[in-house]
């Protein structure tokens, strides 16, 4: 039967209307709902690998920062029980660490090791079949992509979520991803994940200029937070499994100061014994490449070195005199200050001789003494190097370390001798008696005795006493006395020093400040030039020129000593505390210090502590605390000559090796 046309049409129209009514409207899933669902799915995906860490014991405060006692966060990185977290979580040095893994009972955990370069700590629990965090593929992390900071501090059931983006890469000297998701002790140690739930980093507490624990957490929840890229963190964890901590690597150079925008990496100083010195870097070298990448500014070099650890080898290219050289330096954990080694003898101070260096005095108990060296021995070779003068012997010894062994070859009474000495550290005291060198006959044209003059070209008045016992075979020492403000102390000084100068061959030089008033920093140059001129005039032993001052003029004396370490080899200070920031000690600028404290104010712990800056840099320091009577008038004024015997022995030993 043929259907009627009206029926067909109605059916057709009805079908159309039906289709329209029931046409599947596009589910109006807005972007926000999708994003919300994806955030929650990402957190859920990472959830089984995020652990809760609880600690007991330890301190409450570090660097003035009150530490929270609540749980912290960590990530599982391997199924056999290794967990990575932020070192901030252990800033209080807790005695017990407990880890809660989702779905399991709590377990005690052991701290395996800490990466102090990146702020990560590796823990181990006795567990198997743990679910390690899935890492995002290397190189997939892009600036601007969504990043979620997950933590487990608040709720053991589900991680806490903070949403942000990746703000930057290679921050904190090349080490960290920067994010604006909120990072704080709430999620330090937790993963920074992408929208797929894969970890792009491990959240940690870092600060650009890290000095204290408090500084690293100072910027929490501020829109700037840091995470170590996940593959760097996993590589670090592999190293930490051995149990040894990782430390930032040091090279041992400082750079010449340039303008902040044009700071070319030209080496200023190379620390003695540092990796840079061992690689052959010298002052004036310009570093042009590191690890194969060109560097034109110091921050570029720091960006490369700042991510390297102690023990890592860094490839450097430097330019010297127009030629480029490639070297490799192995970075170290610490750069200990120069420690001058001690052989324990005083050599004859004469001109160089091919017969070798003659020993004049051997310090009792010293390495030289233990090697049976005696006064009169001649030393010809030290450690395979021929020496013909005290300075040559000193040059070989001073670049060694205490504990090094040296072979000494020489002769005694014509017979050859060969000894091995083991260098030690210089003792902080002097022997009871050090004989003076024998007198000499001065040349006829030297002006001796006491006289007063003006230093030409410098408008500097001074008086000077040159004893008649000095000469070419007995180079004198030179003491430069800087008088206290208002009083030149000339009479007392000369009375006290004259016997010492005559006996030991010391030239006494006393510049006079304008109107005998206070010394000003502008006088440093003039004083130095005057000392140099006197040194040349009397053939002064350049190893035994020192500055002397009492109380008020001590700061000026120290300023002069430290500013011209090539001229002045030490300072003799009465009643003054030690300098707060002595310059770095190195073999080319060694100095010694003698403190004589007779005032009661200096018989305190604070005074002894004031010597710590010098002692921590291994400058030889001698302190004399003479007995004082209760009568204050007896302590006033300059000491008498009897009181200077210790000082005399010190002057004698200034060039001891």
């Amino acid at each position: 039967m043929k259907p009627s046309l009206p029926l067909l049409t109605t059916a057709f129209v009805g079908a159309l209307i039906a289709c329209r009514i029931h046409a599947p409207a596009h589910a109006d899933d807005d972007l926000e709902t999708l994003e919300e669902q994806q955030i929650q799915a990402a957190a859920a995906s990472a959830d089984p690998s995020i652990v809760r860490i609880e600690t007991a014991g330890g301190v409450e405060q570090v660097d003035g920062l009150l530490l929270g006692s609540g749980p912290t966060t960590g990530v599982v990185i391997s199924s056999d029980g290794y967990i990575l977290t932020s070192s901030f979580n252990f800033a209080g040095k807790p005695s017990t660490v407990i880890v809660s893994i989702p779905g399991r009972d709590r377990l005690p955990a052991r701290i395996v090791a800490t990466d102090r370069l990146r702020g990560l700590t590796l823990l181990r629990v006795e567990a198997s079949d743990l679910k390690p965090i899935e890492a995002a593929p290397a190189g997939s992390c892009k600036v601007g992509q969504t990043a979620l900071a997950l933590g487990r501090t608040y709720d053991p059931e589900f991680p806490s979520v903070s949403v942000g983006v990746v703000s930057a890469l290679h921050r904190i000297w090349g080490k960290a991803i920067q994010t604006d998701a909120k990072t704080s002790p709430v999620n330090y140690g937790g993963p920074l994940v992408n929208l797929r739930g894969q970890a792009i980093g491990v959240i940690t507490a870092l600060a650009p200029e890290e000095s204290t624990v408090a500084a690293t957490v100072e910027w929490y929840d501020s829109g700037i937070g840091f995470a170590i890229p996940v593959h760097d963190a996993l590589a670090s964890a592999d190293r930490l499994k051995s149990g040894a901590d990782i430390h930032p690597g040091l090279l041992g150079v400082t750079f010449q100061k340039g303008s902040p925008l044009d700071n070319v990496p030209v080496v200023d100083r190379v620390r003695f014994g540092s990796p840079a010195e061992q690689a052959g870097l010298k002052s004036g070298d310009k570093i042009v490449a590191a690890e194969g990448r060109a560097v034109r500014r110091v921050p570029q070099l720091k960006q490369i070195l700042g991510a390297m650890a102690a023990g890592d080898a860094v490839r450097l290219t430097f330019e010297r005199a127009g030629a480029n050289t490639d070297v490799t330096a192995t970075l170290v954990e610490s750069l200990p200050p120069y420690n001058p080694p001690w052989l324990g003898l005083i050599a004859e101070r004469g001109p160089p001789s091919p017969e070798g260096v003659v020993v004049r005095y051997v310090f009792p108990g010293s390495p030289a003494d233990q090697a049976q060296l005696k006064p009169g021995d001649r030393i010809r070779r030290v450690a395979e190097t021929a020496v013909d003068h005290r300075d040559a012997l000193d040059a070989v010894v001073c670049r060694r370390k205490p504990g090094d062994s040296l072979a000494i070859v020489g002769s005694r009474d014509g017979r050859p001798i060969e000894e091995a000495v083991q260098l030690a550290e210089r003792p902080p005291s002097l022997p009871a008696d050090i004989p003076a060198a024998s007198s000499a006959v001065p040349p006829a044209d030297w002006k001796l005795g006491r006289r007063q003059e003006t230093f030409p070209g410098h408008d500097l008045e001074y008086w000077i006493y040159a004893p008649a016992t000095i000469g070419q075979t007995r180079p004198p020492a030179l003491v430069v006395f800087l008088h206290p403000p208002g009083d030149s102390l000339e009479k007392d000084l000369l009375a006290a020093w004259k016997p010492l100068c005559d006996e030991r061959g010391v030239v006494l030089l006393a510049p006079l400040a304008e109107k005998r008033a206070r010394w000003t920093p502008g006088d440093v140059e003039s004083v130095k030039n005057l000392a140099a001129a006197v040194r040349d005039q009397y053939l002064v032993d350049s190893r035994r020129i020192f500055v002397h001052a009492a109380a008020d003029s001590a700061p000026f004396a120290l300023l002069t000593t430290f500013r011209h370490r090539d001229v002045f080899r030490g300072a003799l200070l009465f009643d003054s505390a030690g300098p707060r920031q002595p310059p770095e000690h190195d073999p080319d600028s060694r100095q010694s210090f003698y403190f004589r404290w007779s005032r009661p104010q200096l018989r305190t712990d604070a005074a002894t502590q004031s010597l710590k800056p010098l002692q921590s840099q291994n400058y030889p320091v001698i302190v004399e605390r003479p007995a004082t009577s209760d009568d204050p008038s007896a302590n006033a004024g300059y000491p008498s000559s009897d009181a200077l015997s210790g000082i005399g022995r010190w002057i004698e030993s200034l060039d001891a090796i």
Binding site: A56, S162, S184
Partner: protein, 348 residues
């Protein structure tokens, strides 16, 4: 007839192409964020009151919870004067009286003289978890005055947790459930503001400027609506806060809840964080029966970490049940025991 049918078909098809047929679509046009926020802003008020000295600000926020003008806010110094001023989003100014306060929740109920105000129902709150998008509305920093609506921020719920917080040396009263938010709401004037879900429903009341005691960081949180709802009901009806809801006000117990009651003598408490090592176990005590030994380190009381002797004593005093689960560390392993508080404290 065919022609008329074909004509109607054509009109039908053409019209449907241009969408003029009002066929019901599956989803009506969803309101956008702007309109949701605009609606919600009408229900958040600016409160001005006492303060302005010693770093205490004289302003805050509140939410309208009834059409006749009940306003819920945090209980703070702003309400110290007899009458506070409440300013609505459109600039209408009212004098508000403090009706009642709930010291457990640290909230207060104000009343203004108005009718037909838009308000937040407290019983309609969705249950949101971490990652859920939320808006925070508040008069932070007193940026809004007069007829300006309060400020809006957008973020997500960070976590659900319980409050363990302090302001200075004083710990907060409320120790119940909170929503931690991934937003900076810890700002002057924000407390008492509203946390709303994406669809505009009220989720929680923004909390005070407190520090989280567990992490020593500033806390951004809200008190959930489902915790507020029964309390606000009571406050509106004048019944005051119920003591039974407050675990801190539990009735006194027959035996003092101390470690000694269980038979545990701890090491002397000499430093602020002395670890809770067991020094001795009293004979014939629950601890002895359960096998606790000297040198065991007590770590958890009923799943709460006790990192020090002090924390252990505080935790025990908060317990209400007679059976307490202790977890101790013995060597490299953790041992869990259940101790029942005896009727009589064991003697030494």
């Amino acid at each position: 007839m065919i022609r008329s049918l074909l004509l109607s078909m054509t009109i039908f098809l053409v019209a449907s192409r241009f969408g003029t047929i009002t066929v019901a679509r599956d989803n009506p046009a969803a309101p956008d964020n702007a309109s949701i926020v605009a609606e919600a802003q009408k229900k958040v008020v600016k409160i001005f009151g006492a303060g302005g000295l010693s770093g205490l600000v004289a302003y805050g926020s509140g939410v309208i919870v009834s059409p006749e003008g009940h306003i819920l806010t945090v209980f703070s110094h702003v309400l110290d004067s007899d009458v506070a001023a409440v300013v609505l989003h459109d600039g209408r100014r009212f004098a508000a009286k403090t009706l009642a306060a709930d010291s457990n929740l640290d909230v207060a109920l104000l009343k203004i003289d108005a009718v037909d105000l838009p308000c937040f129902p407290l019983n309609d709150a969705p249950l949101l978890g971490p990652g859920a998008r939320v808006f925070a509305l508040s008069n932070m920093f007193k940026v809004a005055t007069g007829d300006e609506a309060v400020s809006v921020q957008r973020g997500v719920v960070s976590a659900r947790s319980t409050l363990s917080a302090r302001r200075g040396a004083f710990s907060a009263n409320y120790k119940g459930e909170i929503l931690v938010v991934d937003l900076i709401t810890n700002n002057p004037g924000a407390a008492g503001g509203a946390l709303v879900a994406r669809d505009g429903r009220f989720v929680g009341l923004l909390g005070k400027e407190l520090r989280n005691m567990n992490t020593e960081t500033w806390l951004n949180y809200a008190i959930p609506a489902r915790v507020l709802a029964p309390a606000v009901d009571r406050l509106i009806s004048g019944r005051g806060s119920a003591a039974s809801d407050d675990p801190l006000n539990s009735t006194s117990l027959p035996v003092a809840r101390e470690p000694q009651s269980f038979g545990v003598i701890l090491v002397p408490d000499v430093v602020p964080k002395t670890p809770a090592y067991i020094d001795r176990v009293l004979p014939n005590s629950p601890a002895a029966a359960a096998g606790l030994q000297p040198d065991d380190l007590v770590l958890f009381i009923d799943d709460e970490l006790v990192p020090s002797v002090r924390a252990l004593r505080a935790s025990l005093s908060r317990q209400t049940g007679a059976t307490v689960r202790w977890v101790v560390r013995r060597g490299e392993s953790l041992v869990a025991v259940k101790l029942v508080l005896p009727e009589k404290a064991p003697s030494e």
